[in-house]
Symmetry: C4
Subunit: 247 residues, 4 copies
């Protein structure tokens, strides 16, 4: 019973994988359009905003569906608290930039399995995607502030680059708190990514060491088994000898 229920959740996740990926790409394109198109009329702007909200609603419904399908609802709630926050917080207009986290998570879930073997390509892809999202988000947040130093996409991309590389010239930096939130996520994400990579390499080495340990143990077992058979052979030989002397 419980098993079949868990399988329902897994089946759901597999079924919505592709549609959600497509929606995430749509969201990213529409978001980029809205941020970059300065001359958009009010009507077009509203239409794009509606598309963004519609995509958002689908992501929210996916959370509700997964919550409904989960058997141990309390455990699901606790382990998916971050999911809930990234769905609820962007309701507040100033935190709408957090919607990009969900989009990044969906895209990551879709492609991580595919290219993780080619770890270099994967790291490069993640960095470019995160950089693109950060550039769009910081531009969206800063553009209309009177003291802003980031007012074009070029500025935003340049700022993202100097931040990711931790060079930080200080010729461009966010001044609004939404922009600083983007910067914080970018920096924390960068530090976390570095930690994950270091940890992956370390645990990879440890795995290989465990492999060596297993191999030594196996070799030892094989040697001992062979030795035991030699001893059995010897014992039989002795028994035969004894039998031949006292027939």
């Amino acid at each position: 019973m419980l098993d079949s229920d868990e399988r329902r959740l897994t089946r759901w996740e597999r079924r919505v994988e592709w549609p959600l990926t497509v929606l995430a790409v749509v969201f990213l394109v529409v978001y980029a359009w809205q941020v970059l198109d300065n001359r958009a009329t009010g009507g077009l702007h509203l239409a794009l905003e509606l598309v963004l909200w519609a995509v958002w609603l689908v992501f929210a419904l996916d959370y509700v569906a997964r919550f409904t399908l989960a058997v141990d609802k309390r455990r699901f709630f606790v382990t998916h608290l971050f999911d809930l926050l990234t769905v609820l917080l962007p309701m507040i207009r100033q935190l709408r930039v957090l919607r990009l986290i969900t989009v990044l998570k969906v895209l990551n879930r879709r492609f991580a399995g595919k290219v993780r073997q080619r770890i270099g390509l994967y790291a490069a892809g993640v960095t470019v995607l995160v950089g693109l999202c950060a550039s769009l988000a910081v531009l969206d947040a800063e553009r209309n502030h009177p003291d802003a130093t980031i007012t074009t996409f070029g500025d935003a991309a340049w700022w993202t680059l100097t931040t990711i590389s931790t060079v930080g010239y200080g010729d461009r930096y966010p001044v609004t708190w939404e922009g600083r939130l983007v910067a914080a996520l970018l920096m924390i994400g960068g530090i976390a990514l570095l930690g994950v990579i270091t940890g992956t390499i370390a645990s990879w080495l440890v795995d290989r060491l465990s492999g060596v340990e297993d191999q030594v143990a196996e070799a030892e077992e094989a040697t001992l088994a062979e030795l035991r058979s030699v001893k059995a052979e010897l014992a039989e030989l002795r028994a035969e000898l004894r039998a031949s002397r006292h027939p």
Copy 2:
């Protein structure tokens, strides 16, 4: 005699662990209140200051108690010199920020054992706590300087983030020497933390290698023991044969 004395010190440390943790949290909350509450009246400010000094007195008394209980007082003095400095130096008003080091050490001692297995969570917790303390301390030091660029908690948090990530835009930076002391501790702490993490991973790998070495040695010993028993068997067989031929 000596043993029972050392045990008295250990027993003391175990007994005061919880009260000191609570006091450290109290200190942190009261300190944050004092730094962040701009509209506090003189009376309230004085009351908060008194609480801070009272907590401080308890930490100082703990040092005195541990010194009294230690058997080899000279060795205790040398190995706990840093403890003594973090108790004595904050007496000087300009160095009161150093009191946060003791608070961080108490909190670290309490929780390090609990979550060190989940090393990611531990690192995140330490970073957040250190960042919070640094933000409060730098705000406390800078706020009243005429050339200060850090005058609100938002500014201080933003400065801490750009410093921890080593981006360092330069839009906010400390100008007082107390503020620069906080920055120095933050930077040195960051470098030291990185060194500790690298060292931990390296020694972890070396430990695993020692494990493999031990395993090879054990396997070798088992094989040789088995081989020796085979040889003993053979020797006995030969003896029996000889006996049967020359009865």
Copy 3:
């Protein structure tokens, strides 16, 4: 047939190795001359430009020759896409800085084999060469911009140093998009280099672990072979005994 064709490509690459290296050095020297010599007359400037274009043509012809000699042309096209881009893109005047990438690649191909054993020397050489190219390129891009902060080779070298070390004071930074392209390549190159070094060390350790595994496997095989010969000996002994009892 296919083999001899592939060999023709390899033979070509070996034959043009030295001429291309010389041309790369010539290109670097002429480029440095053109960038650094402020008082060059129009005629001299044109002559240097012609030399640069002539060298460039040779590099382009080398690509064409290699493409012609390749057997599987489609595979060559895909795996050498980056080569094609670094040949074609610098046609656009604003992207002429990308020609330095080809020069760096030629020099790297020539000397990597020679000094890779002395990995420290190799890393130092690459860093100095990349730094020199970046300094020249950023100076070339920035010098004539009205807001430029990088107007002499000293400024450019200083900027390169603060960028490579990720210190980034912000007293000098590129303001043109060509200069920012140079900065982006420098930063991305730095991050990529770090990744390559970390990966090299990790895979080096893993190789050594594989060596240990192979050794354990070999040792195990040798032991088992020896044990099997002991068993064969025992079996023969038993057969002899039996034969002696029932002659």
Copy 4:
């Protein structure tokens, strides 16, 4: 003959080790005094300068003595080229800061052997010493420049800290080329130090792996030797049996 000559060089180096260390400390103290004491009269300033030059002369004479004692003078010249440069270049007044490199090398040679086991302490000591030298040198270079942002020892120490940690706010930075030379040495030194530490850890792990390999090889040899003795025992047994049957 050749051996006894090489021993003369080694004996010389052992004999001058302590005096040179003392001179290095004297140089550092006098240099700090000269840089930090603003109110020094012309006479005192000249006296200090004379002490610095006298110490310098001793270092130069040490190079000459070692060159005279070396047997293979050509090899000595090539392998000690850096030594020669650090002795000759500081003759030029603007490069006198390079004298600190020799001082650091002498102090490092003296204490490296002592504390390298406690690698953390050693790294901390090197960092503090290099930081102190860099602060003094940059202050010496910058102080009298009209656009200088580093005019007190506090400024210089703060600049050194933001540079070592690669934060680089940009509130203080060198503007003279001597100051930038100091910065370049500090940054390059930092990068090199990081490389050395990473390399040390990696080669340490590889050493341990070699230890495991040796151990496996030894264990294998012991097992095979034991097996061979078992086989010899068996062969003797068989010979005895045969002898008993055909007496």
